[in-house]
């Protein structure tokens, strides 16, 4: 046994044991958390893993992500080289050079080139962090120039340099038969020509040991830093929600039940895996409307806080003791402030941005549930909302019998079991809000013109429960959902049209938890279909000045309906609508989602004003929306900006106008 082996083998064993222990410390406590079935449908999971983990689809959405893609794939390739390195350190005969040249030579070439590429990527990454870091790399806890990030980059660079020097020394010593296949090492060896054999041997030994030590330290750093994602990102993608995480899990209401998440072990194991996986890339923070307007919420910090809290409390939790660091309380590392939790509009921008498919939104709602259901602690304005929802099944507490007022001119439009095809689920805004009643009438008129068989539930319709569910009042949501579900079943409802993306998403996605699998269609989809099929023929398409379309979160990001509303606007005005700079999946929330519609916005600046100013900046004369909340928020915003001349219209109104030249 050589002296090198004599030192390396025990070192390797210690390093490996330490790594295994760190992993055990991190992953064994996941068993303390709540169960979550994330094992179904392996084929679909594998596909997702290939796309998002190996293909890095989300990572490369931003230009700089390409650098990460290169690093990631270089890493995979060099995994082989490093594996060989470690193995050869223990059993010197097990070397790739033992392979036949036809295999060994190309491999050598690839390693050489990829190592250079890695070195270049590391240099770019370091330069970005040091000289032109984007804002979103830093949070309250971490700086873009954090030591940790730079050390890791330094380690990778050291590995590559040691690799090159080791090889160059070996080439110079004439020990490498495949020198011709190592362009970079070979060039470096040429530079080393004048050096004595002893010096070359020393260089090789030093390079070898640098490489070996850095590698072992690097492995041990992984589970103890944000670079844990190297271990967890791939499984996290595998275990990610197969459907868009636009719903929250159902709670059961039985005696002795604990509601929501008030303490970190009440999260599911996947929630904690999410927290471990966060790489602090800051993309969620960059797109969060709450964060953007100066609220205390930062989705990245929420995830980070969960991780810190879990690690801080884990030893106590294992012994069945109370956690030391509260999960919800005064803002600080490891603790979420209530203000932060209430600031979320559930717009899903963070979900869309995360390269490793972390599900921020369900975590925030779970913590809200704890506040509402266990602590009864929530912003005062919500008291009214919760009471009205519970007693009158609508946010304003208006008499249910007034639900049919909007269509009093249209005659009896009751849904008739077996005869009516579509249930028009009008929604609370469409039924009670004077402005939104116009939209309901427009939708109804268009449906009639197209000869669609539709009906309403009238006073029996209850609120879909979107706001209360997102606000964490799962109890009231459960009441509403159960009653609505029973009503749909009793009346034999199969197909539903909604004019509100919130009703749309919750009936389509959340109500599946109540055994309902309905064909739910948003009015934009149906209208686009009817126009395309020629059942609605635009007679008076008219230009309305600069028309811009605003994507609603629950239509676009949460349900991928992007084209239908644009097609409707295009048909009605004769030209496709203009686009916001932030549009499609990057659309910016109006500020009313997640129950924020019913709350005051005391912190930071107004989300709707930010969006309204964006519209004004783009010279919009009409903003087209497909959501009652967006409609209200835009109209309010324009009034605040004293830009009353800018019109806000629902796509159905614009289309209805184009159908009726007489009006």
């Amino acid at each position: 046994m050589s002296a090198q082996q004599l030192f390396f083998i025990p070192l390797f064993i210690v390093a490996l044991a330490s790594f295994a222990f760190s992993c055990y410390q991190r992953f064994a406590p996941l068993a303390l958390c709540q169960d979550d079935d994330r094992f179904s449908n392996p084929a679909a999971r594998l596909k997702k893993t290939l796309r998002y983990a190996l293909g890095q689809q989300r990572v490369v959405k931003r230009a700089f992500g390409f650098n990460h893609l290169l690093l990631f794939w270089s890493f995979l390739v060099l995994l082989l080289a490093n594996g060989e390195f470690l193995l050869a350190g223990i059993f010197p005969v097990l070397r790739l050079s033992a392979l036949p040249g036809v295999l060994y030579h190309p491999l050598t070439l690839v390693f050489d080139l990829v190592s250079l590429l890695t070195l270049a990527c590391v240099a770019v990454a370091a330069a970005r962090r040091l000289f032109f870091p984007p804002d979103y790399l830093s949070s309250s806890y971490a700086s873009a120039r954090s030591g940790e990030a730079l050390i890791i980059l330094g380690f990778i660079a050291a590995l590559m340099l040691a690799f090159f020097f080791l090889r160059a020394a070996e080439v110079a010593l004439g020990l490498e038969p495949a020198a011709a296949w190592m362009p970079i090492s070979n060039a470096l060896a040429t530079g080393l020509k004048g050096i004595s054999v002893t010096a070359l041997e020393t260089l090789a030994a030093v390079a070898w040991w640098v490489h070996a030590l850095v590698l072992l330290v690097f492995i041990n750093l992984l589970p103890r830093s944000k670079h844990m994602h190297i271990l967890t990102a791939i499984p996290n993608c595998y275990f990610s929600s197969l459907e868009k995480p636009n719903t929250q899990p159902r709670e059961t209401f039985t005696h002795g039940q604990v509601f929501g998440v008030g303490s970190v072990e009440r999260f599911s194991w996947k929630d904690i895996l999410d927290a471990y996986t966060c790489t602090e890339c800051g993309r969620c923070q960059d797109v969060c409307p709450a964060r953007f307007t100066g609220k205390p919420l930062n989705p990245r910090q929420v995830v980070h806080d969960i991780k810190v809290n879990f690690l801080e409390n884990v030893s106590l939790l294992k012994n069945g003791e109370q956690p030391r660091l509260p999960l919800i309380g005064e803002a600080g590392e490891g603790c979420n402030s209530e203000d932060a939790l209430w600031a979320c509009t559930t717009c899903g921008a963070c979900l869309q941005a995360c390269p490793v498919l972390i599900e921020h939104l369900p975590k925030i709602v779970k913590m809200r549930r704890h506040l509402v259901e266990t602590e009864a602690r929530f912003p005062g304005e919500l008291l009214n909302l919760f009471e009205n929802m519970e007693q009158r099944s609508n946010p304003w507490g208006i008499a249910p019998s007034e639900r049919t007022k909007w269509c009093s001119q249209l005659g009896n439009r009751d849904f008739v079991t077996g005869t009516t095809e579509y249930l028009f689920f009008v929604g609370c805004s469409g039924a009670f809000d004077n402005r939104n009643k116009h939209v309901s009438v427009a939708v109804a008129t268009l449906l009639d013109q197209a000869g669609i068989s539709w009906g309403i539930l009238g006073k029996d319709e209850l609120c879909c429960g979107d706001s209360v569910r997102r606000l964490g009042n799962e109890f009231v949501f459960d009441l509403l959902a159960q009653k609505n579900a029973a009503l749909f079943k009793e009346r034999g409802v199969k197909k539903i049209i909604t004019q509100c993306p919130h009703c749309f998403s919750i009936l389509l996605n959340d109500y599946r938890q109540y055994g309902l699998d309905l064909e739910v269609i948003h009015h934009s989809q149906l209208l686009a279909e009817l126009v395309a099929a020629g059942r609605l023929q635009v007679t008076a398409a008219k230009a309305q000045g600069q028309v811009i379309f605003h994507d609603s979160c629950y239509l676009g990001r949460h349900n991928d309906v992007y084209q239908a509303p644009r097609q409707v606007v295009a048909a009605a005005t004769g030209t496709p609508p203009a686009e916001f700079t932030r549009h499609g999946e990057n659309s910016f929330c109006c500020g009313a989602g997640g129950g924020r519609m019913w709350m005051e916005e005391h912190l930071g600046t107004r989300i709707n004003l930010d969006r309204v100013r964006e519209a004004l900046g783009q010279g919009a004369q009409t903003v087209c929306v497909a959501c009652p909340y967006c409609l209200t928020m835009f109209e309010d915003g324009f009034k605040d900006e004293k830009a009353d001349s800018v019109k806000v219209r629902d796509i159905a109104e614009v289309l209805a106008e184009a159908m009726a030249p007489g009006r």
Partner: protein, 448 residues
Amino acid sequence: MTEPKKLKKPRGKARLIDNSCIACGERCMSSCPTDAITMNDAGEPIIDYEKCIGCIKCVKVCPAQALEMFFSPEEQAILDEIARHQGGADDAAAEAEIDPDARQLQEMLAGYRGVWVFIEQTGGEAAKVSWELLFTGRALAQSLGVELSAVVIGHQVEGLCSEAFGYGAEQAYLLDAPVYRHYRTEAYARALCHLIGKHKPEVILMGATGVGRDLAGAVATVVRTGLTADCTGLSIDDHRNLMQTRPAFGGNIMATIMCDKYRPQMATVRPHVMQMPEFVAGRSGRMSRESFAPPEAEILVKVLEVIEDGAGHGKVDIAGANIIVSGGRGMMGKENFAMLQDLADALGGVVGASRSAVDAGWMPGERQVGQTGKTVRPTVYIACGISGAIQHMVGMQDSDVIIAINRDPEAPIFQIAHYGIVGDLFQVIPSMTARISELRQAARRHSA
């Protein structure tokens, strides 16, 4: 009632008077205790005479007086006989004829006499609604021919009794002990239940406030009687029953609810629904001081600290105001709210605001009316430059009279306003203020 009776008064059977049923929807059927009534296809009752026991419930419930009682010739003979013996058909005779169950009920009901009003207080200060209830309670007590009593529970609150006399109570029950210092459901409920058990009132009224709603429900449950919340009208029928009227089905109908088999009859009434009685200083009444007090140790809830609502002193409580002049975005600026203050001063009201006015910093947050502000129910609400977004309207739509002033005739506020003024509020409001001040001065001169 005490004289012995030999003849049992026959009860007869119910029958339908031809062509008078309006097919109201099976009210007689649902009122029948023996299921003697079924409905035909036309929605008219078919009465099974085998089952009918002559309880008269269906006759009473029929909205069209389409049902009547009839007697067989034999029964009619007995009736005539009784009439002869009694020398006239007086109620006492009929009453004496009723079966033991009914007699027991009559006796139980007769055991309860008097109208009580619970005087709600915080720190020795009474809630205004309690005085309002004394006004209503007085009318009820007069129709029943009984005394009106105030129930005062608290610590060092004796002064409230004389105040209650000033507002019209003839008697006051006082429970004064440290255990009643702060409102706690258990202590107050036990106290009130004790008083009910001891003095047996037939009517108890409370304010539909946080405390009143809590206490009334707890007490009604313990003493096993009915409770009608949020009544808007109270009166007495000719059987000494309290007729409790309140909106039902989302305000679309008024329901009159009675509690004819249990006593006491309990009702809550929201603030500002009833009239405020006139205070007559120096009026006095009988005060009975009660000594009942549950031991502190038995009350599980402890009040550690009372945290005052954000309002505090010097702030205006718009939720309790009788006249509110509210301004919205149409006010154009903070300085213009002085104009609203002038109008409010002339009317003796306060100034409120819509959310946009509060957002703009023109008015403080506690003046905000609406979904996320306060819900108000004043006698008069004047909305100035408020378009009437649903979020605002739900906070003021229950006002007795809504007057809207807006430039835009299409503004939704006009849909719920009783009086709408389309015009420039900068002209309308000053002229209103001027005219009201003029009228006031004229009235003062007149009375002087």
